[in-house]
Every structure is written in C-alpha cells, then in structure tokens.
C-alpha cells in the first residue's frame, strides 16, 4: 500500500486508516536459544500504525532479544518476521556507549548519515525538549538528555515504526511525566506505531494501547485493563502489582479519539 503523506510530511487520515489493517511488523513463532538456554519460545507479536504496544517482563524475560529480532539485528532460530515493504524504523537503544575520545556533538550525532535542514532539526529538538544541548559533546550529555537525543534521532528519520527500549531509564520524575505525554503526541502527529520496552507500569497504564507481557513466551497480552485482570500477569508480577494496576486502569481508562483503535477486536490468540 502506498504511504501518502500530506504537505506537512504527516500521514493523511485515509492512509492511517488503511495502514491500520495490516500490521507494520509482525513476528510469528519466534524461537531463540543461547546454547542450551532457551531465551524466546514461540513468541508472536505485531504492531499496527497508530498503536502503542508495550513490552513488559521481568529481567531476563527476553525483551531486548525480541526487540533485536524485530529490528533485524539478530536472526531468530525459528519463526518469521514480516515487515511491511519499505518500513522505516526509528530506534532508540536503551544505552549508548559514549567515550570522550570520540569527538561528536549532539548536532553531529543527529545529522550523521543523513543531513537534515536546520529548521527541521530545531523543530524536532524543540519537540523532545533538547534544544539547549545541540552543541554539547555527546560524552557530556546526561542520561536523561541522552534519551531525548536518541528519540530525536529516531524521529528525524520520519519513522513509521518507533522502537524505544527503556526510554525512561535515568529520566527524572518531572521529565518522565512530560515524556509520557510526548509519546502520545508523537503517535498522533506522525501516525506511527510505537513499540516500547518499559519497566515503568505507570507509563504502561497511561499511554499504552496494548501490553504484551513476556516471560520467554507471551504469558498474556491485551489492553492494560485486560492484562491487569489476567491471572498469568499477577502470577508473574505478584498480586500486589496487579491489584494496583487494576485499580489504576479503572480510574484512568480512556481512549485516544484522534485515531481509530486499529487493533482487531479479538486479538487474544497469544494469551
């Protein structure tokens, strides 16, 4: 399907509605093992345009491995990944090794590989709230600022799918709530699908359309409200957390009206 962008470079409403039907990316029966230890067992996941999907799970659940497979960095032992042809992915890794011996400024990091018009650079940095550090060396940027810079780099590539690995790690509380809102704004503005890896259940509840709970296999998936009631979820995370989540989702449940909910209604085959 051709992707039609209007004059602002944003997706038109018709295109978004059309894109919603086929997933941007779809992984089927993904299996990975390292030596004798199995890391992922028959994992299915898909992300549609205009949808925020959050991957949750305890340490060692295989979240990062799954992300690396979806991005094409590593190949699964079994299973397939289907990407929509020509899919543009913006990726923000969890961390970035930064060494003062490598002389790059934030501006250079952002424009490396693809030169952008200065106005566009300004606009995106404004959007993520990192304009002030444009001329700083990358090695001197703080952990929280780094996440904004990485997000800006991903956005500059006009992604149709945004993959964010722990975007809130090392971000202070005040900036966190700002970033929560930012993700929804980005989704609405760019019409892109967002795949999040997050430990932050607050973010999961507030901004996510669909939660996929991973523990080597997909132990449950659905809307935040659905998984909060799922026994598999409370087994994994503990009763305490799931009760809190259930209470939270009850008081905060809302829909994003800017877009039609693109997820098919009976999307429960993974649970």
């Amino acid at each position: 399907m051709p992707v039609i962008r209007n004059g602002n470079g944003l997706l038109t409403d018709e295109t978004i509605a059309g894109l919603g039907r086929t997933p941007l990316i779809k992984a089927l029966k993904i299996c990975v093992s390292l030596g004798r230890r199995s890391v992922l067992e028959s994992v299915d996941i898909e992300v549609h345009a205009g949808e925020i999907v959050t991957l949750v799970g305890l340490n060692g659940a295989g979240k990062s491995t799954l992300v690396r497979i979806l991005l094409g960095i590593i190949q699964p032992d079994e299973g397939t990944v289907e990407r929509r042809p020509g899919l543009k992915i913006g990726y923000s890794p969890q961390r970035l090794r930064r060494d003062p011996i490598f002389p790059v400024t934030v501006r250079r990091f952002l424009t490396l590989g693809t030169p952008f018009a200065p106005e566009r650079l300004e606009a995106v940095l404004q959007e993520v709230g990192a304009s002030a550090i444009l001329s700083h060396p990358m090695a001197e940027v703080s952990g929280g600022e780094l996440h904004r810079v990485l997000l800006a780099r991903a956005l500059l590539r006009n992604p149709e799918l945004l993959v964010l690995d722990e975007p809130l790690a090392g971000v202070d509380i005040a900036s966190q709530s700002e970033l929560y809102g930012l993700l929804t704004r980005i989704r609405d503005r760019y019409g892109c699908g967002i795949l999040l890896v997050s430990h932050d259940l607050h973010l999961v509840m507030k901004e996510t359309d669909k939660v996929v709970c991973l523990n080597k296999h997909v132990c449950c998936s659905g809307t935040p409200r659905e998984i909060a009631r799922d026994p598999a979820f409370s087994t994994l995370f503990g009763k305490h957390i799931s009760e809190w989540l259930a209470a939270y989702s009850h008081s905060h449940d809302h829909r994003h009206d800017a877009l039609e909910d693109p997820a098919p209604p009976n999307d429960k085959e993974e649970s």
Binding site: R68, L71, G72, I73, I89, Y91, P93, L96, R97, D99, P100, I101, F102, P103, V104, T105, R108, F109, L112, G113, S135, P137, R157, V163
Partner: protein, 266 residues
C-alpha cells in the same frame, strides 16, 4: 648529504602514517588496539610463508595479516571463551610458529631484529610501491565507507537498525588495520607497529573537535613524527623507528596540556 635511502624512508614513512592516522582513530574510538597487537604477532609466520612459497616477504606478511584478520572476525562471532583470551592464544601461537618455521630454514639468514624493530632506512623501491599502493587503497576505502564507519563507531545496534551492514563494515575495518600493520611493520617493526597506529590518533584527540579533523590531525602528527624522527636519528645516530615513535609520544604529552573541553566548545 641526504642519500636515496633517506628519501625512500621519508616518503614511505609519511605514506604509512597517512593511512595509519585515520585507521588509528577508529582503533582508539572502538577500543580494538588488541586486534592490532594480535595481527602484529603473525608477521614472522608471514615471513616464513614468504620464503616457503618464494614470494616477496612484505607481500607474504600482508597476505598472512589478511588471513589472520579473517579468522579473528569468525572467532569474534562465535568465540568459545572470551575474545581477549582467544586473541592472546592465537597471537602467541602465530609468533611461536613463525619463530620455529624460520629456525627450520637454515639456508636463509633472517634478520630477526629487523622484523622485531623494523628498519625504515631499508625501504627499497619495491617496498615503496607496495606501501603507496596499500595506502592509496586504504584511504580510498576509508573515505568511501566513512559514514558507515562512523555509524558503527557510535553504536553497532543503532547502525544495524538503520540499515548499515555492520558486519561487512567491521570486516573492512579489520582488513584495513591488517594492511596498515603489515606495511607499518617494515618501518618500526612488529613490537612498535601498534604505537604507530594508536599514538598519533590519541594525540590528535586534543587538537580536534570533529571526527574528520581528528583523522586528518592524526595523519599530520604521524607525518611530522616521521620527518622529525628521521632527522633526529640521523643527527644523533639513534635507531629511526623508535625515534619516530618517541616524537609522536611527545605530541601526545603536549596534547595533554591542551584541555579538550576548550577545543570542543570553541
């Protein structure tokens, strides 16, 4: 007063540093100096191979370095123990194997010291052609893949996600490093050749605010070191290779006095 051999040494030495500078920058950025050290250990094996197949020893060293670099890349992907250990094991097996192989060739008198410490003043016409050819190919490849090389320097996963062929670019870099080690060995010997790659690049950091400028500065510092080192060695009758390395060391120490922040913000 300057003889032909002196000019050949000067031209060959400067040519080598022009390639060693940019490659050295990637070596210090990616922290893969141990690759260079391991490659340098295979030199004697290459020399023995050259005599065995009766080809030019310098060419044989180049080929051996390429083969070893290929093995290292394969091992890096599926090392049974840590890569550091594998490299240490293989490098010293190669060194010991080279020494034994040379000992077997009784009819050949090999100038072992020449290979350990190099002899820049013995660079001949054929060497000069091999050096300039290798340098030309290296610099062409680096400028052709410059953006991809920078991308994998920043982050391999990010580069892979953005469509950079990470494995191929890394393979290219290790091959280029092998080429620089093979030709640099002639100049300063296998014991000092890694210094030729690392020191000018490390020294250049303090004088540079962008990756491109740092690569150029590394080449310039290397070239000046060759010129000054050769002059000093002539004037004081000291070995040329170590003199060159010492001069580049002085650049590094001088750079430490130059605060890096100031350069960056200017």
């Amino acid at each position: 007063m300057f003889a032909d051999f002196f000019f050949r040494a000067l031209i060959g030495g400067i040519a080598i540093t022009l390639a060693a500078g940019p490659i050295g920058c990637f070596v210090v950025w990616l922290q893969v100096a141990y690759f260079g050290t391991a490659l340098a250990h295979t030199v004697l094996l290459g020399v023995a191979l050259g005599y065995l197949l009766s080809i030019d020893p310098a060419l044989a060293v180049l080929i051996t370095c390429f083969l070893f670099a290929g093995c290292l890349m394969l091992l890096e992907r599926r090392a049974p123990v840590s890569l550091d250990t594998v490299l240490g094991v293989l490098a010293h097996i190669a060194l010991a194997g080279g020494l034994v192989a040379l000992a077997f060739m009784e009819q050949m008198r090999v100038d072992l010291l020449g290979y350990l410490f190099g002899d820049i003043l013995s660079i001949g016409h054929a060497d000069l052609w091999l050096i300039t050819g290798t340098v030309a190919v290296t610099l062409t490849a680096v400028s052709w893949q410059w953006h991809n090389l920078l991308a994998i320097t920043i982050d391999r996963d990010l580069a892979a996600a953005e469509g950079v062929p990470v494995e191929r670019v890394r393979l290219l870099l290790i091959f280029l490093l092998a080429a620089v080690i093979a030709i640099g060995m002639k100049m300063v010997g296998m014991l000092l050749v890694v210094a030729l790659v690392i020191i000018p690049a490390a020294a250049a950091r303090r004088f540079a605010s962008t990756p491109e400028f740092m690569a150029i500065m590394a080449a310039v510092i290397g070239a000046i070191s060759v010129g000054a080192g050769l002059m000093v060695s002539l004037a004081w009758d000291i070995p040329a290779g170590p003199a060159i390395v010492l001069v580049s060391g002085i650049f590094f120490l001088a750079g430490l006095a130059n605060p890096v922040r100031k350069v960056f913000r200017s």
